[in-house]
Homo-oligomer: 249 residues x 2
Protein backbone atom coordinates (compact mmCIF):
# COMPACT_ATOMS: atom_id res chain seq x y z
CA UNK A 1 0.00 0.00 0.00
CA UNK A 2 1.32 3.39 -1.07
CA UNK A 3 0.14 6.41 0.88
CA UNK A 4 0.92 9.96 -0.22
CA UNK A 5 -0.07 12.94 1.91
CA UNK A 6 0.74 16.60 1.51
CA UNK A 7 2.52 18.32 4.39
CA UNK A 8 0.32 21.15 5.66
CA UNK A 9 1.44 24.34 7.28
CA UNK A 10 4.81 24.93 5.65
CA UNK A 11 5.44 28.70 5.68
CA UNK A 12 6.59 30.73 2.67
CA UNK A 13 10.27 29.73 2.38
CA UNK A 14 13.04 32.31 1.84
CA UNK A 15 16.73 32.15 0.99
CA UNK A 16 18.74 30.83 3.90
CA UNK A 17 15.78 29.20 5.66
CA UNK A 18 16.45 25.82 7.25
CA UNK A 19 14.02 23.90 5.04
CA UNK A 20 14.56 20.60 6.86
CA UNK A 21 13.68 22.21 10.20
CA UNK A 22 10.58 23.86 8.72
CA UNK A 23 9.40 20.49 7.39
CA UNK A 24 9.99 18.72 10.71
CA UNK A 25 8.02 21.47 12.43
CA UNK A 26 5.16 21.33 9.92
CA UNK A 27 4.96 17.55 10.22
CA UNK A 28 4.86 17.47 14.05
CA UNK A 29 3.57 15.53 15.89
CA UNK A 30 4.02 13.10 12.96
CA UNK A 31 7.63 11.89 12.83
CA UNK A 32 9.73 11.05 9.81
CA UNK A 33 10.78 7.41 9.43
CA UNK A 34 13.75 5.82 7.73
CA UNK A 35 11.51 4.14 5.15
CA UNK A 36 9.63 7.31 4.20
CA UNK A 37 10.11 9.17 0.96
CA UNK A 38 9.86 12.94 1.33
CA UNK A 39 8.97 14.52 -2.00
CA UNK A 40 9.67 18.23 -2.53
CA UNK A 41 8.56 20.40 -5.42
CA UNK A 42 11.84 21.97 -6.54
CA UNK A 43 10.65 25.53 -6.03
CA UNK A 44 10.74 25.31 -2.27
CA UNK A 45 14.28 23.90 -2.49
CA UNK A 46 15.36 26.60 -4.96
CA UNK A 47 13.93 29.34 -2.79
CA UNK A 48 15.67 28.07 0.35
CA UNK A 49 18.94 27.96 -1.61
CA UNK A 50 18.44 31.40 -3.14
CA UNK A 51 18.28 29.92 -6.64
CA UNK A 52 16.24 32.84 -7.91
CA UNK A 53 16.96 35.78 -10.21
CA UNK A 54 15.51 39.28 -9.96
CA UNK A 55 14.48 40.43 -13.43
CA UNK A 56 15.60 43.98 -12.67
CA UNK A 57 19.25 42.93 -12.51
CA UNK A 58 19.23 41.06 -15.84
CA UNK A 59 20.66 42.67 -19.00
CA UNK A 60 19.64 40.66 -22.06
CA UNK A 61 22.24 40.07 -24.79
CA UNK A 62 21.58 40.14 -28.54
CA UNK A 63 20.54 36.49 -28.75
CA UNK A 64 18.11 36.78 -25.84
CA UNK A 65 16.63 39.92 -27.38
CA UNK A 66 16.17 38.23 -30.75
CA UNK A 67 14.58 35.09 -29.26
CA UNK A 68 12.33 37.20 -27.04
CA UNK A 69 11.01 39.04 -30.10
CA UNK A 70 10.41 35.76 -31.91
CA UNK A 71 8.52 34.29 -28.95
CA UNK A 72 6.77 37.40 -27.63
CA UNK A 73 8.50 37.11 -24.25
CA UNK A 74 10.38 39.42 -21.88
CA UNK A 75 14.01 39.50 -23.10
CA UNK A 76 15.31 39.45 -19.52
CA UNK A 77 13.29 36.30 -18.83
CA UNK A 78 14.74 34.71 -22.00
CA UNK A 79 18.25 35.70 -20.88
CA UNK A 80 17.76 33.86 -17.58
CA UNK A 81 16.50 30.79 -19.47
CA UNK A 82 19.57 30.89 -21.72
CA UNK A 83 21.84 31.25 -18.68
CA UNK A 84 20.34 28.04 -17.28
CA UNK A 85 20.69 26.11 -20.56
CA UNK A 86 23.41 24.02 -22.13
CA UNK A 87 21.49 24.02 -25.41
CA UNK A 88 18.22 25.27 -26.90
CA UNK A 89 16.41 22.63 -28.96
CA UNK A 90 13.31 24.57 -30.01
CA UNK A 91 12.08 28.13 -29.84
CA UNK A 92 8.44 28.14 -30.91
CA UNK A 93 4.93 28.98 -29.70
CA UNK A 94 6.19 31.15 -26.87
CA UNK A 95 8.35 28.43 -25.37
CA UNK A 96 12.02 27.46 -25.37
CA UNK A 97 12.66 23.73 -25.11
CA UNK A 98 16.07 23.59 -23.44
CA UNK A 99 18.67 21.16 -22.25
CA UNK A 100 19.62 22.43 -18.80
CA UNK A 101 23.16 22.35 -17.44
CA UNK A 102 22.08 19.25 -15.50
CA UNK A 103 21.01 17.53 -18.74
CA UNK A 104 17.23 17.79 -18.29
CA UNK A 105 15.12 18.52 -21.36
CA UNK A 106 12.26 20.81 -20.44
CA UNK A 107 10.38 23.99 -21.25
CA UNK A 108 12.19 27.24 -20.41
CA UNK A 109 14.98 25.38 -18.59
CA UNK A 110 12.70 25.03 -15.58
CA UNK A 111 12.75 28.81 -15.02
CA UNK A 112 9.40 29.84 -13.65
CA UNK A 113 7.64 33.02 -12.66
CA UNK A 114 4.71 31.58 -10.76
CA UNK A 115 4.97 30.92 -7.03
CA UNK A 116 8.32 32.75 -6.89
CA UNK A 117 7.28 34.63 -3.78
CA UNK A 118 8.42 38.03 -5.01
CA UNK A 119 7.11 39.95 -8.01
CA UNK A 120 9.55 40.09 -10.94
CA UNK A 121 11.55 37.25 -9.49
CA UNK A 122 12.18 34.02 -11.36
CA UNK A 123 12.76 30.69 -9.66
CA UNK A 124 15.48 28.51 -11.19
CA UNK A 125 16.05 24.81 -10.80
CA UNK A 126 18.44 24.06 -7.92
CA UNK A 127 22.06 24.17 -9.13
CA UNK A 128 22.66 20.56 -8.04
CA UNK A 129 19.34 18.91 -7.15
CA UNK A 130 20.98 15.61 -6.11
CA UNK A 131 23.26 17.62 -3.81
CA UNK A 132 20.23 19.48 -2.45
CA UNK A 133 18.56 16.15 -1.69
CA UNK A 134 21.67 14.80 0.03
CA UNK A 135 22.04 17.95 2.15
CA UNK A 136 18.38 17.86 3.18
CA UNK A 137 18.66 14.20 4.08
CA UNK A 138 21.76 14.81 6.21
CA UNK A 139 20.07 17.72 7.98
CA UNK A 140 16.92 15.68 8.64
CA UNK A 141 19.04 12.89 10.09
CA UNK A 142 20.73 15.48 12.32
CA UNK A 143 17.40 16.91 13.49
CA UNK A 144 15.36 13.73 13.89
CA UNK A 145 17.62 10.69 13.77
CA UNK A 146 15.65 9.45 10.77
CA UNK A 147 16.95 9.56 7.20
CA UNK A 148 14.04 9.27 4.77
CA UNK A 149 14.74 9.23 1.06
CA UNK A 150 14.51 12.71 -0.48
CA UNK A 151 13.06 13.32 -3.93
CA UNK A 152 13.12 16.73 -5.63
CA UNK A 153 10.61 17.12 -8.47
CA UNK A 154 9.48 19.37 -11.27
CA UNK A 155 6.58 19.25 -13.75
CA UNK A 156 7.84 18.43 -17.24
CA UNK A 157 6.08 18.16 -20.57
CA UNK A 158 6.67 15.00 -22.55
CA UNK A 159 7.11 13.89 -26.13
CA UNK A 160 4.04 12.32 -27.78
CA UNK A 161 1.67 13.09 -24.91
CA UNK A 162 -0.06 16.25 -23.76
CA UNK A 163 0.02 17.56 -20.21
CA UNK A 164 2.78 17.55 -17.67
CA UNK A 165 3.81 14.96 -15.13
CA UNK A 166 5.95 15.52 -12.10
CA UNK A 167 9.30 13.79 -12.50
CA UNK A 168 12.48 13.39 -10.47
CA UNK A 169 15.19 16.03 -10.86
CA UNK A 170 17.17 15.08 -7.75
CA UNK A 171 17.20 12.40 -5.09
CA UNK A 172 19.11 10.87 -2.21
CA UNK A 173 18.65 7.44 -0.68
CA UNK A 174 16.28 6.34 -3.42
CA UNK A 175 16.38 3.56 -6.00
CA UNK A 176 15.60 5.75 -9.00
CA UNK A 177 15.46 2.85 -11.45
CA UNK A 178 14.27 -0.61 -10.47
CA UNK A 179 15.77 -3.20 -12.78
CA UNK A 180 13.69 -6.35 -13.30
CA UNK A 181 15.74 -7.64 -16.24
CA UNK A 182 16.78 -11.23 -15.69
CA UNK A 183 14.06 -11.73 -13.10
CA UNK A 184 10.94 -13.76 -13.85
CA UNK A 185 7.28 -12.98 -14.19
CA UNK A 186 4.44 -14.92 -12.55
CA UNK A 187 4.74 -17.71 -15.17
CA UNK A 188 8.48 -18.07 -14.66
CA UNK A 189 9.16 -16.33 -17.96
CA UNK A 190 12.12 -13.96 -17.99
CA UNK A 191 11.20 -10.26 -18.03
CA UNK A 192 13.22 -8.92 -20.95
CA UNK A 193 13.06 -5.16 -20.88
CA UNK A 194 11.51 -4.06 -17.64
CA UNK A 195 13.34 -1.24 -15.95
CA UNK A 196 10.96 0.89 -13.96
CA UNK A 197 11.59 4.59 -13.37
CA UNK A 198 10.49 4.39 -9.75
CA UNK A 199 11.68 7.90 -8.91
CA UNK A 200 9.50 9.35 -11.66
CA UNK A 201 6.53 7.24 -10.59
CA UNK A 202 6.98 8.46 -7.00
CA UNK A 203 7.13 12.06 -8.20
CA UNK A 204 3.87 11.54 -10.10
CA UNK A 205 2.17 9.88 -7.14
CA UNK A 206 3.18 12.71 -4.82
CA UNK A 207 1.85 15.34 -7.22
CA UNK A 208 -1.64 13.85 -6.97
CA UNK A 209 -1.64 14.42 -3.21
CA UNK A 210 -1.37 18.17 -3.46
CA UNK A 211 -3.19 21.01 -5.04
CA UNK A 212 -1.21 23.42 -7.25
CA UNK A 213 -2.90 26.38 -5.60
CA UNK A 214 -2.68 25.30 -1.96
CA UNK A 215 1.03 25.92 -1.34
CA UNK A 216 1.89 22.31 -0.54
CA UNK A 217 5.38 21.75 -1.89
CA UNK A 218 6.14 18.81 0.42
CA UNK A 219 4.50 15.39 0.24
CA UNK A 220 5.25 12.45 2.48
CA UNK A 221 5.05 9.03 0.80
CA UNK A 222 4.73 5.95 2.97
CA UNK A 223 4.80 2.31 1.91
CA UNK A 224 7.62 2.79 -0.59
CA UNK A 225 10.35 1.67 1.79
CA UNK A 226 11.58 -0.97 -0.66
CA UNK A 227 12.94 1.88 -2.79
CA UNK A 228 14.79 3.56 0.11
CA UNK A 229 18.49 2.85 0.66
CA UNK A 230 20.83 3.68 3.53
CA UNK A 231 23.39 5.05 1.06
CA UNK A 232 22.55 8.31 -0.70
CA UNK A 233 23.38 6.63 -4.03
CA UNK A 234 23.89 8.11 -7.52
CA UNK A 235 20.86 10.43 -7.57
CA UNK A 236 18.94 10.91 -10.80
CA UNK A 237 21.85 10.42 -13.22
CA UNK A 238 20.67 6.88 -14.12
CA UNK A 239 17.39 8.43 -15.33
CA UNK A 240 19.05 10.51 -18.04
CA UNK A 241 19.00 8.68 -21.36
CA UNK A 242 22.07 9.06 -23.56
CA UNK A 243 21.05 10.76 -26.81
CA UNK A 244 22.59 7.96 -28.86
CA UNK A 245 20.42 5.38 -27.11
CA UNK A 246 17.15 7.27 -27.36
CA UNK A 247 14.74 5.65 -29.82
CA UNK A 248 11.69 7.49 -28.50
CA UNK A 249 12.04 10.93 -30.10
CA UNK B 1 -4.26 11.82 0.88
CA UNK B 2 -3.81 9.35 -1.97
CA UNK B 3 -3.88 5.66 -1.10
CA UNK B 4 -3.03 2.97 -3.65
CA UNK B 5 -3.37 -0.71 -2.81
CA UNK B 6 -3.02 -3.76 -5.00
CA UNK B 7 -6.00 -6.11 -5.22
CA UNK B 8 -4.94 -9.53 -3.96
CA UNK B 9 -6.32 -12.88 -5.02
CA UNK B 10 -7.32 -12.21 -8.61
CA UNK B 11 -7.14 -15.56 -10.46
CA UNK B 12 -5.43 -16.08 -13.84
CA UNK B 13 -7.86 -14.43 -16.26
CA UNK B 14 -8.90 -16.11 -19.53
CA UNK B 15 -10.85 -15.02 -22.62
CA UNK B 16 -14.52 -14.57 -21.84
CA UNK B 17 -14.04 -14.25 -18.08
CA UNK B 18 -16.19 -11.65 -16.35
CA UNK B 19 -13.30 -9.46 -15.19
CA UNK B 20 -15.52 -7.05 -13.26
CA UNK B 21 -17.05 -9.93 -11.27
CA UNK B 22 -13.60 -11.39 -10.55
CA UNK B 23 -12.43 -8.03 -9.22
CA UNK B 24 -15.50 -7.57 -7.01
CA UNK B 25 -14.95 -11.07 -5.64
CA UNK B 26 -11.24 -10.48 -5.01
CA UNK B 27 -11.95 -7.16 -3.27
CA UNK B 28 -14.62 -8.54 -0.91
CA UNK B 29 -15.41 -7.72 1.82
CA UNK B 30 -14.03 -4.34 0.70
CA UNK B 31 -16.58 -2.54 -1.52
CA UNK B 32 -15.99 -0.27 -4.47
CA UNK B 33 -17.03 3.36 -4.08
CA UNK B 34 -18.10 5.95 -6.63
CA UNK B 35 -15.02 8.07 -5.91
CA UNK B 36 -12.52 5.22 -6.31
CA UNK B 37 -10.20 4.82 -9.25
CA UNK B 38 -9.68 1.19 -10.27
CA UNK B 39 -6.42 0.86 -12.19
CA UNK B 40 -5.89 -2.20 -14.40
CA UNK B 41 -2.69 -3.28 -16.13
CA UNK B 42 -3.87 -3.74 -19.72
CA UNK B 43 -2.81 -7.40 -19.91
CA UNK B 44 -5.60 -8.59 -17.68
CA UNK B 45 -8.08 -6.62 -19.79
CA UNK B 46 -6.59 -7.96 -23.04
CA UNK B 47 -6.72 -11.51 -21.76
CA UNK B 48 -10.36 -11.25 -20.69
CA UNK B 49 -11.18 -9.85 -24.15
CA UNK B 50 -9.16 -12.51 -25.99
CA UNK B 51 -6.79 -9.87 -27.37
CA UNK B 52 -3.99 -12.41 -27.75
CA UNK B 53 -2.34 -14.11 -30.72
CA UNK B 54 -0.96 -17.63 -30.84
CA UNK B 55 2.44 -17.56 -32.58
CA UNK B 56 1.74 -20.90 -34.25
CA UNK B 57 -1.03 -19.39 -36.39
CA UNK B 58 1.06 -16.43 -37.63
CA UNK B 59 2.63 -16.48 -41.11
CA UNK B 60 5.16 -13.66 -41.43
CA UNK B 61 5.26 -11.70 -44.67
CA UNK B 62 8.41 -10.45 -46.44
CA UNK B 63 8.66 -7.21 -44.46
CA UNK B 64 8.27 -8.97 -41.10
CA UNK B 65 10.89 -11.52 -42.12
CA UNK B 66 13.33 -8.80 -43.14
CA UNK B 67 12.80 -6.77 -39.95
CA UNK B 68 13.09 -9.90 -37.83
CA UNK B 69 16.48 -10.67 -39.37
CA UNK B 70 17.65 -7.12 -38.77
CA UNK B 71 16.54 -7.20 -35.13
CA UNK B 72 17.30 -10.83 -34.26
CA UNK B 73 13.66 -11.52 -33.42
CA UNK B 74 11.09 -14.19 -34.23
CA UNK B 75 9.51 -13.18 -37.58
CA UNK B 76 6.06 -14.27 -36.39
CA UNK B 77 6.39 -11.97 -33.36
CA UNK B 78 7.42 -9.09 -35.66
CA UNK B 79 4.42 -9.81 -37.89
CA UNK B 80 2.09 -9.46 -34.91
CA UNK B 81 3.76 -6.16 -33.96
CA UNK B 82 3.31 -4.88 -37.53
CA UNK B 83 -0.35 -5.96 -37.52
CA UNK B 84 -0.86 -3.81 -34.39
CA UNK B 85 0.94 -0.76 -35.85
CA UNK B 86 -0.15 2.19 -37.93
CA UNK B 87 3.52 3.10 -38.48
CA UNK B 88 7.01 1.95 -37.50
CA UNK B 89 9.27 4.81 -36.41
CA UNK B 90 12.44 2.90 -35.54
CA UNK B 91 13.75 -0.62 -35.90
CA UNK B 92 16.97 -0.84 -33.91
CA UNK B 93 18.60 -2.65 -31.01
CA UNK B 94 16.09 -5.48 -31.05
CA UNK B 95 13.10 -3.19 -30.70
CA UNK B 96 10.46 -1.68 -32.97
CA UNK B 97 9.21 1.73 -31.89
CA UNK B 98 5.69 1.83 -33.28
CA UNK B 99 2.66 4.04 -33.53
CA UNK B 100 -0.24 1.75 -32.67
CA UNK B 101 -3.60 1.93 -34.39
CA UNK B 102 -4.80 3.83 -31.30
CA UNK B 103 -2.04 6.43 -31.78
CA UNK B 104 0.24 5.38 -28.90
CA UNK B 105 3.99 5.51 -29.47
CA UNK B 106 5.65 2.58 -27.75
CA UNK B 107 8.03 -0.34 -28.07
CA UNK B 108 6.75 -3.29 -30.10
CA UNK B 109 3.25 -1.79 -30.32
CA UNK B 110 2.58 -3.01 -26.78
CA UNK B 111 2.78 -6.65 -27.91
CA UNK B 112 4.22 -8.68 -25.11
CA UNK B 113 5.21 -12.27 -24.47
CA UNK B 114 5.60 -12.16 -20.70
CA UNK B 115 2.62 -12.91 -18.46
CA UNK B 116 0.57 -14.07 -21.47
CA UNK B 117 -0.64 -17.12 -19.58
CA UNK B 118 0.05 -19.59 -22.40
CA UNK B 119 3.41 -20.41 -23.94
CA UNK B 120 3.92 -19.01 -27.45
CA UNK B 121 1.03 -16.64 -26.99
CA UNK B 122 1.40 -12.87 -27.32
CA UNK B 123 -0.76 -10.38 -25.48
CA UNK B 124 -1.88 -7.36 -27.50
CA UNK B 125 -3.17 -4.02 -26.29
CA UNK B 126 -6.98 -4.00 -26.03
CA UNK B 127 -8.52 -3.04 -29.38
CA UNK B 128 -10.33 -0.04 -27.82
CA UNK B 129 -9.00 0.56 -24.29
CA UNK B 130 -11.42 3.44 -23.62
CA UNK B 131 -14.27 1.15 -24.66
CA UNK B 132 -12.88 -1.58 -22.38
CA UNK B 133 -12.86 0.89 -19.50
CA UNK B 134 -16.42 2.00 -20.20
CA UNK B 135 -17.65 -1.61 -20.39
CA UNK B 136 -15.94 -2.53 -17.13
CA UNK B 137 -17.40 0.51 -15.44
CA UNK B 138 -20.91 -0.33 -16.63
CA UNK B 139 -20.54 -3.93 -15.48
CA UNK B 140 -19.23 -2.84 -12.06
CA UNK B 141 -22.19 -0.50 -11.68
CA UNK B 142 -24.47 -3.41 -12.55
CA UNK B 143 -22.81 -5.70 -10.03
CA UNK B 144 -22.25 -3.30 -7.13
CA UNK B 145 -24.22 -0.10 -7.70
CA UNK B 146 -20.94 1.82 -7.56
CA UNK B 147 -19.26 3.28 -10.64
CA UNK B 148 -15.59 3.98 -9.86
CA UNK B 149 -13.40 5.52 -12.54
CA UNK B 150 -11.57 2.87 -14.59
CA UNK B 151 -8.01 3.38 -15.80
CA UNK B 152 -6.26 0.90 -18.12
CA UNK B 153 -2.46 1.18 -18.13
CA UNK B 154 0.71 -0.03 -19.82
CA UNK B 155 4.42 0.55 -19.15
CA UNK B 156 5.93 2.81 -21.80
CA UNK B 157 9.48 3.99 -22.39
CA UNK B 158 9.98 7.74 -22.76
CA UNK B 159 12.03 10.16 -24.79
CA UNK B 160 15.01 11.69 -22.94
CA UNK B 161 14.70 9.51 -19.86
CA UNK B 162 15.58 5.89 -19.13
CA UNK B 163 13.21 3.38 -17.60
CA UNK B 164 9.51 2.91 -18.08
CA UNK B 165 6.56 4.50 -16.35
CA UNK B 166 3.03 3.21 -16.33
CA UNK B 167 0.76 5.50 -18.31
CA UNK B 168 -2.91 5.66 -19.24
CA UNK B 169 -4.02 3.87 -22.41
CA UNK B 170 -7.73 3.89 -21.65
CA UNK B 171 -10.12 5.35 -19.10
CA UNK B 172 -13.74 5.99 -18.22
CA UNK B 173 -15.12 8.46 -15.69
CA UNK B 174 -11.72 10.08 -15.19
CA UNK B 175 -10.42 13.61 -15.73
CA UNK B 176 -7.36 12.60 -17.76
CA UNK B 177 -6.01 16.15 -18.02
CA UNK B 178 -6.48 18.73 -15.28
CA UNK B 179 -6.29 22.20 -16.75
CA UNK B 180 -5.04 24.92 -14.38
CA UNK B 181 -4.55 27.52 -17.10
CA UNK B 182 -6.25 30.77 -16.18
CA UNK B 183 -6.39 29.81 -12.51
CA UNK B 184 -4.10 31.39 -9.94
CA UNK B 185 -1.23 30.20 -7.81
CA UNK B 186 -0.82 30.85 -4.08
CA UNK B 187 0.36 34.42 -4.79
CA UNK B 188 -2.61 35.22 -7.01
CA UNK B 189 -0.40 34.99 -10.09
CA UNK B 190 -1.94 33.32 -13.11
CA UNK B 191 -0.67 29.80 -13.85
CA UNK B 192 0.29 30.02 -17.51
CA UNK B 193 1.01 26.56 -18.80
CA UNK B 194 -0.07 24.09 -16.21
CA UNK B 195 -2.04 21.19 -17.60
CA UNK B 196 -1.50 18.10 -15.52
CA UNK B 197 -1.71 14.63 -17.01
CA UNK B 198 -3.60 13.25 -14.02
CA UNK B 199 -4.42 9.94 -15.70
CA UNK B 200 -0.72 9.28 -16.30
CA UNK B 201 0.16 10.30 -12.74
CA UNK B 202 -2.52 7.92 -11.42
CA UNK B 203 -1.15 5.12 -13.59
CA UNK B 204 2.32 5.75 -12.17
CA UNK B 205 1.07 5.87 -8.58
CA UNK B 206 -0.79 2.58 -9.01
CA UNK B 207 2.27 0.86 -10.46
CA UNK B 208 4.20 1.55 -7.24
CA UNK B 209 1.60 -0.39 -5.24
CA UNK B 210 2.23 -3.69 -6.99
CA UNK B 211 5.09 -5.98 -7.69
CA UNK B 212 5.74 -7.02 -11.29
CA UNK B 213 6.19 -10.64 -10.24
CA UNK B 214 3.23 -10.96 -7.86
CA UNK B 215 0.40 -11.12 -10.38
CA UNK B 216 -1.36 -7.99 -9.19
CA UNK B 217 -2.86 -6.37 -12.27
CA UNK B 218 -5.53 -4.44 -10.34
CA UNK B 219 -4.85 -1.53 -7.99
CA UNK B 220 -7.46 0.44 -6.11
CA UNK B 221 -6.69 4.15 -5.67
CA UNK B 222 -8.57 6.09 -3.01
CA UNK B 223 -8.46 9.81 -2.31
CA UNK B 224 -8.49 10.79 -5.99
CA UNK B 225 -12.25 11.37 -6.14
CA UNK B 226 -11.76 14.92 -7.43
CA UNK B 227 -10.66 13.35 -10.75
CA UNK B 228 -13.72 11.05 -11.01
CA UNK B 229 -16.74 12.12 -13.06
CA UNK B 230 -20.25 10.69 -13.37
CA UNK B 231 -19.97 10.80 -17.18
CA UNK B 232 -17.58 8.34 -18.84
CA UNK B 233 -16.02 11.25 -20.74
CA UNK B 234 -13.62 11.31 -23.72
CA UNK B 235 -11.16 8.68 -22.46
CA UNK B 236 -7.44 9.14 -23.17
CA UNK B 237 -7.77 10.98 -26.49
CA UNK B 238 -6.94 14.35 -24.84
CA UNK B 239 -3.58 12.83 -23.78
CA UNK B 240 -2.40 12.21 -27.34
CA UNK B 241 -0.30 15.12 -28.57
CA UNK B 242 -0.72 16.11 -32.20
CA UNK B 243 2.59 15.60 -34.00
CA UNK B 244 2.57 19.18 -35.29
CA UNK B 245 2.30 20.51 -31.73
CA UNK B 246 5.00 18.32 -30.24
CA UNK B 247 8.11 20.32 -29.32
CA UNK B 248 9.55 17.63 -27.08
CA UNK B 249 11.02 15.16 -29.59
Amino acid sequence: VILASAVDGLPEVRAGDDLAALIVQALAPERLQDDDVLVLAHKVVSKSEGAVRALGAVVPDARATELAELLGKDARHVQVVLDESRAVRRAERGVLICVTHHGFVCANAGVDASNAGEPDTLTLLPRDPDGSARALRARLRELTGAAPAILVTDSFGRAWRTGQCDIAIGCAGLIALEDWRGRSDTRGRELKATVIATADELAAAADLARSKDAGQPAVLVRGAGRFVTAEDGPGVQPLLRAETEDLFR
